[in-house]
């Protein structure tokens, strides 16, 4: 919009982003900007293209047209692992962890060192790694389960573990896809607490349905509808936008 030519002022600048699947435009000419240390929540009805936006940013899906700038890098031209290395972390909707490994190993793999083939071969589990893993494990309430096989964790614990895996990566932009979905009430509370601690000092992009939760954390809300932005701004502003009300009540 205003300063689209100087994306450096934003951490993330999405401009004119379009992707079509076999003619169907899941995301259509979408533009939005995320600042440093901003918490942005994307809401919208099912099929609005929310998850697709995250897929596009993290490189899982290739854009048909448009640009995604992260600091001074064009993410549309990079591979997934390069995007991660540039500082973008992504949590999936369903917990995506390694069932065959222990909690410790799950976290260790996400530790940002030894990511090349040779690096992985010569990787040593030294004090730095161990301390960091333990620190993160403490944050995600799994400190006493480090040696447990991850497949034995409960659903909520798996969600936490994945959040922990992101945390240990220390990304500048954290993308969370429905982090509290499928959790029990007590787990939800703990998760909100957890998220509140980890979103400090970084930008966060969250997809969430739980409005209470959204209201708690969001700096700014973007409402997506049919692949396009319906409304954008503070929670207060969005809530009172007649277009938003129509879409939500229409359902």
């Amino acid at each position: 919009m205003l300063i689209g030519h100087q994306p450096k002022d934003f951490l993330l600048a999405v401009e004119g982003l379009t992707v079509s699947f076999d003619g169907f435009k899941a995301v259509n000419d979408l533009s939005f900007y995320v600042e440093e240390n901003e918490i942005r929540v994307i809401i919208g009805p099912n099929g609005a293209g929310k998850t697709t936006v995250l897929d596009l940013i993290c490189g899982k899906t290739k854009a048909t047209s448009g640009a995604i700038h992260f600091r001074d890098k064009d993410l549309t031209k990079m591979k997934e692992n390069q995007i991660v290395q540039a500082g973008v972390g992504r949590k999936f909707q369903t917990p995506s962890i390694y069932d065959d490994l222990t909690v410790f190993e799950n976290l260790e793999i996400s530790f940002p060192r030894g990511r090349s083939v040779f690096g992985a071969l010569t990787f040593k589990r030294d004090a730095i790694v161990r301390d960091r893993v333990e620190e993160v494990a403490e944050m995600i309430f799994l400190k006493d389960r480090l040696n447990m096989s991850a497949e034995l964790l409960s659903h909520g614990q798996k969600q936490w573990l994945e959040i922990g895996m992101l945390l240990i990566q220390d990304p500048d932009l954290l993308m969370l896809d429905e982090p509290v979905a499928g959790m029990s009430v007590s787990e939800r509370i703990k998760t909100a607490e957890l998220l509140n601690t980890i979103i400090k000092n970084r930008s966060v992009l969250v997809i969430e349905h739980d409005m209470k939760f959204v209201e708690d954390i969001a700096h700014k809300v973007t409402v997506l509808h049919q692949g396009q932005i319906l409304s954008e701004g503070s929670m207060e502003k969005v809530k009172n936008d007649p277009k938003v009300i129509e879409v939500y009540l229409g359902h």
Binding site: N81, Y98, S116, V117
Partner: protein, 380 residues
Amino acid sequence: MSDNARLVNRPELLGILALAVLLVVILPLSLDVFRLNLVAKYLTYAFVAVGLVICWGYGGILSLGQGVFFGLGGYCMAMFLKLEASSPENTKIQSTPGIPDFMDWNQITSLPFFWKPFHSLTFTVIAIIAVPAFFAFVIGAAMFKRRVGGTYFAIITQAVAAILTILIVGQQGYTGGINGMTDLRTLNGWDIRPDHAKIVLYFFEVACLFGCIFIAQFIRRSKLGRILVAMRDKEDRVRFSGYSVANFKIFAFCVAAIFAAIGGAMFALQVGFMSPSFVGIVPSIEMVIYTAVGGRLSILGAVYGTLLVNFAKTSFSESFPELWLFGLGGLFIAVVLAFPNGLAGIWSDYVQPQVDKLLRKKSPKNGWTDASVADGAPAE
């Protein structure tokens, strides 16, 4: 080195020692040279099986073309040996002495350029590793960078095996055709055919096999091993933890290819010839079954599986040739349906608990399982 980087834990160490005792002491003492040479032949396949543990068991990449690499390694070795066996004195009845006999039969009058470097043993040894690694890299890079995996990859490796077989058979002037390269005699002047040479070669091979086992074990215990497991499980997650999944797959595939090639080279030395019948689809799939029988996640299991299947093949086909195919077919099905972790799975599910029980009774403080659980963990 910190405790986590320890190469083997206690049960594994015992397993390796047991295998070493079997291969280095028991078999050589109890078998005559003929049988020992058979074991040596089986062990050449064990190299392939160990490679498949890394590539298939850990990496989840099922290659049905390991015969290609076994063949490439074997042919590299055989080319060197054949050149040595084709000295001008040995081949003076040919129209062009000094070139391999099959070239002479095919009216080739001078050594083709790509044969010439194989006069050098050093070059040959490098080629045994480098040629298959290069092929595996090219195939792997092309496939994995484009996210071809699973069944597609298996089918394409099969096609590669088919292509190479047809090429070798068709280009008989350069490759010996369907007969392969036969009558290999000496290695740098040292006759590889007599019994004492077979015994020396056997121990050399066992040493190389242990070398490969240790390399495989090192890979398995490194973070790379855990990444392979992670990849097999949730490929996308690994990618979004910042790793290039393709590179790791290429690496695993190349390691498997190199192991297979070493096995092939050993085969040429042990058996004294190399032929396209090891390159094709059927032998390639049989090599997979060795790994499956041993347990696709167990390096030592792969060796035992190879020995067991081949021993069964030899003895069955001696007494009941008809039953053998039923047996082999049944083995494939049984391993897949009932024992997906093969011998190693049977061992850890049924035998080891009994052993543990016995050991615990004797010395309650010295539990193996404690060691294995704690291993790989930070707190110790």
